[in-house]
Symmetry: C2
Amino acid sequence: MPNLKTIDAIRAFSRFYTARLGVVGQTYLGTEYSLSDARVIFELDARQTTRATDLVHDLGIDPSYLSRIIARFAKQGLLKATPDPEDGRSRVLSLTARGLEEAARLRALSRGEIGAMIERLSEPEAEALEQALKIAERHLSPGSTTPPAFTLRQHRAGDMGWIVESQAAFYAREYGWNDKFEALLADVVGSFLKHFNPQRERVWIAERDGTRVGSIILADGGDDVGKLRLLYVDQAARGLGLGSRLVEECIAFATTAGYRKISLWTNDILATARALYARNGFIVTNREKHSMFGPAMMGETWELKLSENKDLPS
Amino acid sequence: MPNLKTIDAIRAFSRFYTARLGVVGQTYLGTEYSLSDARVIFELDARQTTRATDLVHDLGIDPSYLSRIIARFAKQGLLKATPDPEDGRSRVLSLTARGLEEAARLRALSRGEIGAMIERLSEPEAEALEQALKIAERHLSPGSTTPPAFTLRQHRAGDMGWIVESQAAFYAREYGWNDKFEALLADVVGSFLKHFNPQRERVWIAERDGTRVGSIILADGGDDVGKLRLLYVDQAARGLGLGSRLVEECIAFATTAGYRKISLWTNDILATARALYARNGFIVTNREKHSMFGPAMMGETWELKLSENKDLPS
DNA sequence: ACCAATTACTTGACTCAGTCCACTAAATGC
DNA sequence: GCATTTAGTGGACTGAGTCAAGTAATTGGT
C-alpha cells in the first residue's frame, strides 16, 4: 500500500541526502578516484575476496566498465586477480597490501567528512540517528519482507507504561474509546505492579527488532483464579501468530502455577480477540451492556477451566 | 562528539542507499535527463522561481555546467528566464507549462520507482519509515543545530501511558528505581484520568517534530490546592528551557484557575528539578526519608503560594 | 563620485566516467 | 554433443562534469 505521503517523504529525503553527501560529481571526495572506483574498493575491502560478477550485481555497475576499473587497479597494484578454481571463466579478486592501504585512506576521508557532519550531535542524538537509519534501511530493503518474528520476554521498567500508551491510543483511534479506558488501563497496571508476585503472576512483552509489538498479563485474581489481561498485538505485527502465542504462553504459565481457571474480560466488538479466546477453549460466562468508554458495547467475561483443559492440543 | 560507531552506521547506510536508489549512473531513471538535469527541474518545480546562483548553492552544482543546462532547457522550452528587476546581472528562472509537465512526468517516474520499493510495507511500517527519515534528515542537517523548539499541547489518548513509560524507564536507568515507582506513576495517572476535570486540571505534553519530549500535570488536590505532578523533560530536549516553560505554564494555569497554592512532591536527588522549582518561587515545606522505589532518598514537599506570587515576573 | 573587488553568469576547451555493442571462452542444459 | 547461458574483455563513442578565462553588473571603501 504505497501511499503518496510516504513516497514523497522518501523523495524529499533523497533530494536532501544526495545533496548532503556530495554523491553528485565525478570524483570521490576530491581524491583521484571516481565514485565507482571508491565503491569497488570499499566492496573489495568489506568482503575479502570476490568475483567480478558479484560486484556487477551488487553495485549495479556495467561489466565492461568494471572490467576496465579492475584492470586499472591491477596495473596500479591495488588488487590482484587469481584464477577461480571453481570456474575457469572468472577470477578471484582481492586487495593487495597497497589496496588495503588505499581503502583505509578513503575510509578515513569519508569518516572525516561524515564526522564533521555530525560532530555537534549529543550522545542521545547520535543514538537516535543510528536507530533511525537502521529502521530506514530495513524498511527500504528489498529482501527480508519482514524479519522472521518476535521474541518474548518479561517486563522491564517502562513496559507497563507502554502497554497503557499503545492500547489507549489504539482503541481511541479504532473504536473511539475515551480517556476512561486509559484510566482503567493505568489502574490495572498500577495495582498489578504494586502487588506483583513473580511466582504467580507474569507479563509477556513481545518485541520485534527491539521494538515492542505485543503484550499479555496474567494476574492473580485470588481463589486460584488467574486473570488474563491486556492482550495486545500491534498493527505492525499482525498475522504472525503473535496473539495465539501470547495466549498459549499465558495458559501454560497459569497451568504450571496451579490456577484452577483463567478468567478474562473483553468486549463483543473485539472479534479477533474473541475468536482467539474461543480457539483456546475459553467460553463466555457473562455478558452485560456498558458504556464505560464512551460508545455502548457488550462486556463479556470468558473463562477457561484449567484442570480439564490441561492436555488439549493448543 | 563524533563517535566511530555512528559514523560507520552512516557510511553503511550511504552505501546501501546509493546502491538502492540508483544514484550512480549518468541518466535519471532511464530518461533523457541526467541526474543533475532532474535535480534542477525538481528544484525549479519546488520553488516556483529562482535565480541561477541559488541553484548553484543549493544543489552544489558547477556554475558553468548549470549555465549550460539552463540554456538547453530554455531552448527546449522547459523554462524561461526573465530579467531580475533587483539585479541586472541575474535572471529569474521559472518553468514553463511544458517544463511543469516534464517535472510532473519525472516525479511520477520517481514516485513509481519508490512506490515499488515500499509497496509491501504496512501502514504502521510506512509511518515508522517516514518518522525515521525525518529524524535522520534533522540530525544530518548542517544548519538548524536543533529545530527551534518544542510545542505544547494538551493530552490525547496514549499520552498518559507515555508519561508512565518514559519516566519509569528513565528513573530506572538513571537512579535504579524499581517497579514500585512505575506502579505509583500508573496510579497517579489512572486516578487523574478517572476524575479529570478540564476546568481545574490540565496536562501539558511537549512535542518536538511529532515526538513527545516532556510533560507536566496540574491536578486538583482539593481545598484549593493544585498538585504539580509528573514533570519530565526527555534527554533529547534538555537545554531548551522546556522544564521552565512547563512549570511556568502550570503556574499560570493554576493562578487563573483560582488555586490558593501549588504543592508538589519530589526527591532530593533530582537536582535540576529542585533548582527549577526554587527558581519559580517554590519552597520546601516538608522532608522525609523513604525507600519506596528501592534506593534510600529524601522525599520533599514543595509549595508555592499563588496569591502573593501572582505578579512576580516569571 | 569613483575605482577596486566581488558577484552573476557565460563561453571555450577538454577529459574521462559511463554506455553500447560485438566478441571470446568457459560452463550449463537438454 | 550441440545450443544456450554466463563471465569477462575490448573498441568506439557520447556527453556529464570541470577548469580557466572572460563580460557585465553590483558592492564597498575612501
